[in-house]
Symmetry: none
Subunit: 139 residues, 4 copies
DNA sequence: GTGGTCTAGACCACA
DNA sequence: GTGGTCTAGACCACC
């Protein structure tokens, strides 16, 4: 997977990296346990200061998406949500409403949006175990 | 519709206003042509600096969502997407992918997400004229 | 509350700040909603680079302990644990075992340790609502 | 006792070894005078670089927890705290305050924490001779 | 004024 | 080699 930086964007560089790696993992383009480019490597590749790469990696580690091990490198982590079900649900709903607001303003209609979501969702790597609602009911 | 400012949020106040008005319109809580509170009215209501309200309104006007008629007030604009079909499509897809990435990382599965989207989409005010694909085929 | 930096310590400066602010809040020396020194103020006070202070504040914000609002300052956040009960329990147990290991090696006996914990715990600001086990059973 | 390395952890490997051996001794899983695996034995078992094992053992020896007898092996040392009473007391208090800070932020209440400490402390191997206060009063 | 981002360059610890 | 910390100094967005 290749990270691409839009220097003209007002989105911070480190955020662009975070977003793209998050998406790469969600799509299965980066496998669990896989090693990512080192800070210095990616710094050279993207022509970005090493500190900026490190900031992106730090953020991803905090999100539980990467493990970083000094001396070895940075690796895609085993996914494990530590959040309460209510919080997760809330976040998803917020994301959905944001998307739907955008879709309405862009002039799409409901069926079109849902069809497109169904379509694009096929390219993602879903958890097939069970629904979060059930999975964490014991908490 | 009532705008609610989350002062503890990291999201800039003016952005919160923009987001909520956009969503209010997308949900049909604010009708096209309806007059919104003036800058100083909303400033008083929300206990927010008038400059901040003005900035939000300016941003919404730039997005073509509001019209300012000097001396009369601020009104919800007639929706007219001037964007090319390809651009609109691209934006929607980006939004969808962002949402799906979030959903995967939160541990939801595909069916759950789609079900929730179908559910929440019922509360929005969709364009029933036609599909954007047809409407703007000339683009 | 006054943060004190041990420059001779091998604990990173930003971590020392994080630890002390966390403890200050846990003890109730910093009240919810209270404003903390600005990055520049604390930078001057502690004779530490502003970036280092900012890093500490960023970390505390990620932990949900502070809210930072550009243009206004940094504030102690409303506490709200978003973690699953199992995870919280696990973390507490790890902390307890670490402490008890230390206590044994220091040559203390069990009663002495428990007595001291009971003693010192009186200076902390406990949540009196209910036990986490009950509080989040609905999740 | 079996040392388990969490390669995905951010904690340095050598530190994980130190921690687990310390805890093993504190729990009585490793008896005083007992021989521990040699550097190369443990290196093979854990699939870890011998230098890393050596570093862990060096650290434990520095802490007075192990004795290396050249040609014979590594042994759990006779516990003898050379620290002054005040220093030991200070360390314990620091550890307690760190734990209590964590507990407060995790949302536990006082009774819950003390109950759990009493519970888990039963699995540790306490010094039954006397209280440190008396034992080192001469310090 | 506030915090946030980014660069450049130094030094340290881990494996 | 790896990542982590810290400094110094620039520029930007928010209020």
């Amino acid at each position: 997977m290749k990270v691409i930086i839009e220097t003209s964007s007002r989105v911070p560089v480190y955020q662009q990296i975070v977003t793209q790696i998050r998406e790469g993992i969600a799509r299965g383009l980066i496998q669990v346990g896989e090693r990512l480019p080192s800070v210095r490597e990616m710094s050279r590749d993207l022509v970005v200061n090493p500190n900026t790469i490190a900031k992106a990696y730090t953020e991803l580690e905090r999100q539980g998406i990467l493990n970083t091990r000094p001396g070895l490198g940075v690796f895609a982590a085993q996914p494990r949500s530590e959040l309460l079900h209510d919080i997760r649900s809330e976040r998803l709903k917020e994301g959905i409403d944001r998307l739907l607001t955008e879709a309405v303003h862009l002039g799409f209609n409901r069926e079109e949006v849902i069809r497109l979501i169904e379509d694009r969702s096929r390219a993602f790597q879903w958890d097939h175990s069970s629904t979060p609602a059930k999975k964490n009911r014991r908490d």
